[in-house]
Amino acid sequence: MKSAVIVFPGSNCDRDMAVALEKITGQKPIMVWHQEYDFPEVDFIALPGGFSYGDYLRCGAMSARSHVMKEVVKRAEAGVPTFGVCNGFQILTETGLLPGALMRNANLHFVCRDVEMTVENTDSMFTSGYKGMDSITIPVAHHDGNYFADTETLDRLEGEGQVAFKYKSDINGAQRRIAGIMNAKGNVLGMMPHPERMIEPALGGSDGRILFESVINSLG
């Protein structure tokens, strides 16, 4: 699987994402600096976590307006699997590829810890490997993971199977405990937890690995 990791000023999980992709796909991803928006074709685009532009103004706001994101949006709309983690999720909502917004955690504190989640839809290209698993554990590390959307949108997301993951307990105030959502086509996933941090027992578990493996399998 050929993949690309988009790097913005202030991204800081770009290396983690690249390491995970290389370990799991056996292929080094290309690292795309935000100003080099004319990047080769790939099978998978990852928007990593971190604090692009320092999270100033709003998390992900400035990255979402960058040239490279125009290109990413184009490709995502054309069907390229696109995956945003944490800050990447925030960027995806800011560009409008995914609905809703991520607000300051309800208790106003940054939270870094393992969280248990349920996989709400195991039929997607990102989640098929989780079939049969009641709950999975993946760490979060964010200040603004409190998912918000209006009721209509939330109902639609749930009704159409676009909710990928839910926290088992409330950790940040997110509406309906939503941890990750997909677009209608199912080729764009944004989530707050960091699967790239849970890819081997030495890091505390391997539940995150399954997500990447699902994508590889779906691409055949």
Binding site: L57, R58, M62, M103, R104, A106, N107, L108, F148, D150
Partner: protein
Amino acid sequence: MKARIHITLKNGVLDPQGKAIEHALGNMGFTGVDAARQGKYIELDLSHTDRAKAEAEVDEMCKKLLANTVIENYSIELE
């Protein structure tokens, strides 16, 4: 020219910062606060001379970057 921009959360969007302020003020013994909301305040120094043009451009800045219109309202004053 100066633009003063207020960005506030839309009605119905939960405001964790505002809630925390309400709570903290209550704890500190300030009893008269029924509700608190927190928003952003942005000042821009503009080199524009044409007021109408400035207004249109600042409006675009708000739409395109400064506010997230999914959850926020904004208002602009020029000075």
